[in-house]
Amino acid sequence: MPRKKINLPYNVEYLSVLDEKGTLDEKLEPDIPEEILLNLHRAMLLGRRFDERLLSLQRQGRIGTFAPVTGQEAAQLGAAVVLRPTDWFVPSFRETAAELWRGRTMESVILAFGGFSEGARSEKKLNNLPVSIPVASQILHAVGIAWAIKYRQTDDLVMTFLGDGGTSEGDFHEGMNFAGVYQAPVIFVCQNNQWAISVPRSKQTHSKTLAQKSLAYDIPGIQVDGNDVLAVYVAAHEAAQRARTGNGPTLIECVTYRMMMHTTADDPKRYRTEKEVETWRKRDPLSRFQKYLMDKGLLSDDQIEALAEEIKTEIQAAVDHAEDQMKGGVDPLDMFEHTYAELSQNLIDQKEELKKEIVAMKEKNDG
């Protein structure tokens, strides 16, 4: 009756390519085409500036509550950048920067946060799912899509996102297990931003890392410096190779930080210290990456400035466009659309009822 150590096929790695200052570890430097590097930088800068603009809009009451992404640009974009248009993107609700990269327009984001269902509409068909607010619920959908891809034998893959809090939900574990069982081509990107609203990572799970949760399902897991866009890229790139070559899922834990509030209605001062935030501010993913690009001679301060200007106008255009639509007002009757493929008689009646009410209201207000 032996009693011996079982050697598990995987162990959990940690990867970081750029240190906090942005200095490079040459031997780990990934070979990324300049063009991609610059697009990536642009996407990060856009994500940051757009986030700031949304915040000011919210503070002026021009849009409603939303979840900021500042500080997590590298964690989400470093991963999303390896996706092909035909791949599937299954976000949680704090991936706005990655969503823009995946082709969602800024207008649609503003409209959605402005309380307009129009924000869900998209001109071109994208292989993206909409944000999924119930935590971790989207993970199983990703696995389902991945299974279908495998069934159709294409070399596409699915990338889904979750947060540290999400790893506590049953859906996450069910999703990991299914993915393992079916060896589905899916990448689980966990943005460990240290805080699930007020609950710190340390209270969320007893495990040392989130990456190690993969061990239970015999899935490769890796923890990377989530504010180091190169490290994230490397991990995602490997995971993509694995998925496309039929070698199943991967869990990537990006260690990053939620620099802002959980949502604009939240007040982090109640549960975390300014000091902690400050230490993370020093690890800002954007400036780190900019330093790297400058050292490489790919970017200069002037270029950054020019780029920032360009982005500013882009954002302004989006805001104007979205606000025009919002000021235009909405037809409340639209609320009945898209409940079913076609309106049931019951809904037709209720729509008529609301129509009458709106007319009556109008008369009341006018007279």
Binding site: R59, T65, T263, A265
Partner: protein, 476 residues
């Protein structure tokens, strides 16, 4: 909260927790109204408690102790040279502030006044948006605007945390005792802060645009104070403006434009005390019918009502003398009017007190104002050298002055300079409010020996019979 926007309804929304604001809130609550008080600070108290009257008086009291210890020498008691421990002074000052602020919190709780920390901006005549608070909107039936004022600055000069150019609030933080301090301004804040820093050992230079100091007070009242600071301050430049101002790592470089022999000088720190600006910007007043005058003060009637009948304004933001005790009364008036009482801000005398050494206090009509209005008055002065009490305290520079209507013999104004005038002035305020005659004051028995006797005796002079002064000749 993490999602959505909650609205609260409130009978009375008080914006600003300074003296005016909390006085209004408390009065309204006592009259049975449902009150919500919003302030950016966690506790009520406002500029006065946290950055104004209270901390400055705490420090001025210490300055007075130092001066007294020094004066005692000539009377036969010698104290050692004062050892000044800034850390302890700051702690003491903080203790004073805390005990008062906590008291206000308790009073609010007991009265059922709801305290909310946050920033407010109107979104209409019945709605305000709250920032950085759990509630995002308040629907109110009445609002009382008590946002106060902040120190004015010179063009292009911004006060910041570490800067060497300070406003009064920063100066009260007492970051250090600068070797040299330049104070720009001739009002009471400038003089009080100068007194503090001079007492703590700074070399104080005072620059003032006009040709005199303390312009609100009659020159003869201000004179003893000016004689004094001419000794305690290094220099006083009259008719002098600041032409350029440049802050460096080591100091503040200034070029003066005026009666200055050395127009370019450098100081360790500088205090700008040239007045205050009302806080009427960025609070959404444009979404209401509230009228703001060209200087940013909110226009109100004697019921403190603005041109928007749901909204009232009190204290500094409503203009008038920027004084806490005036805000107190205005706050009560607003609350009472809202509660349907026939209240109005109707007064005859607002006292002013300058807590320097010597103190200067006055109320009602001043001699200068009377001249401006070419109104005939009679002025009587009582020099304290005739006062027994003043002699015991060696405060002979003092003087008590009464302005009287020659026809009706009614007391129109009172001015006092010397020690403890802060307590004595109230007798004058009451007299004026009651429409008392000089004779009323003269016939009122004042305890002997006290400085307050001088108030009785100055009235006696008017009537021609002061005990300790020979009666004037040729006086009807």
């Amino acid at each position: 909260m993490v999602m959505g926007e909650l609205t609260q309804e409130s009978e009375v929304l008080v914006i600003g927790g300074g003296p005016g604001g909390y006085a209004a809130a408390f009065r309204a609550a006592d009259l049975g109204l449902e009150v919500t008080l919003v302030d950016m600070q966690e506790r009520p108290g406002g500029e006065c408690l946290f950055r104004g009257c209270i901390p400055s008086k705490t420090l001025l009291y210490l300055a007075e102790l130092i001066r007294d210890a020094d004066r005692a020498q000539s009377m036969g008691i010698t104290f050692g040279h004062p050892q000044i421990d800034l850390g302890t002074i700051r702690k003491w000052k903080q203790h004073v502030i805390d005990s008062l602020a906590d008291g206000l919190v308790t009073l609010s709780k007991k009265r059922g006044v709801q305290l909310i920390q946050g920033r407010v901006a109107f979104e209409g005549s019945d709605r305000a948006r709250l920032y950085d608070a759990d509630i995002s909107h308040i629907k109110f039936r009445h609002a009382i605007l008590a946002t106060g004022s902040h120190p004015s600055s010179l063009k292009g000069v911004v006060f910041n945390e570490e800067g060497r150019v300070m406003d009064s609030a920063r100066a009260l933080e007492l970051a250090d005792i600068p070797e040299t301090l330049l104070i720009y301004g001739g009002g009471y804040i400038a003089l009080e802060m100068g007194t503090v820093y001079a007492a703590l050992g700074s070399h104080v230079t005072l620059a003032v645009r006009s040709d005199r100091l303390l312009r609100g007070a009659d020159p003869d009242l201000a004179a003893p104070l000016i004689r004094r600071i001419e000794k305690t301050f290094d220099t006083i430049y009259y008719n002098t403006k600041i032409a350029t101002l440049n802050e460096t790592k080591t100091g503040v470089d200034v070029t003066f434009d005026g009666e200055v022999e050395k127009p370019f000088q450098t100081f360790d720190r500088m205090l700008i005390a040239i007045g205050r600006t009302p806080n009427s910007k960025n609070i959404g007043l444009e979404t209401t019918r509230v009228k703001v005058n060209e200087r940013g003060f909110v226009e109100v009637n004697e019921q403190q009502r603005t041109s928007d009948e749901r909204i009232y304004a009190i204290g500094d933001v409503a203009g008038g003398p920027l004084l806490a005790h005036k805000a107190f009364r205005e706050g009560k008036v607003a609350a009472e009017v809202i509660a349907g009482e026939p209240s109005a801000f109707d007064f005859r005398a607002i006292p002013s007190v300058v807590y320097t050494d010597p103190q200067v206090a006055w109320c009602g009509l001043t001699e200068e104002q009377a001249q401006k209005q070419n109104r005939s008055i009679q002025v009587e002065r009582y020099p304290w050298k005739f006062s027994g009490r003043a002699t015991t305290m060696d405060t002979l520079e003092g003087m008590t002055k009464m302005i009287i209507d020659p026809d009706t013999k009614r007391i129109l104004g009172l001015g006092i300079t010397g020690r403890n005038t802060e307590g004595m002035i109230s007798e004058g305020v009451l007299a004026i409010e009651m429409g008392a005659l000089a004779q009323d004051m003269a016939l009122t028995i004042h305890p002997h020996p006290t400085l307050s006797e001088t108030v009785g005796e100055v009235a006696d002079i008017f009537l021609g019979g002061a005990t300790h002064i020979l009666p004037k000749q040729n006086k009807k």
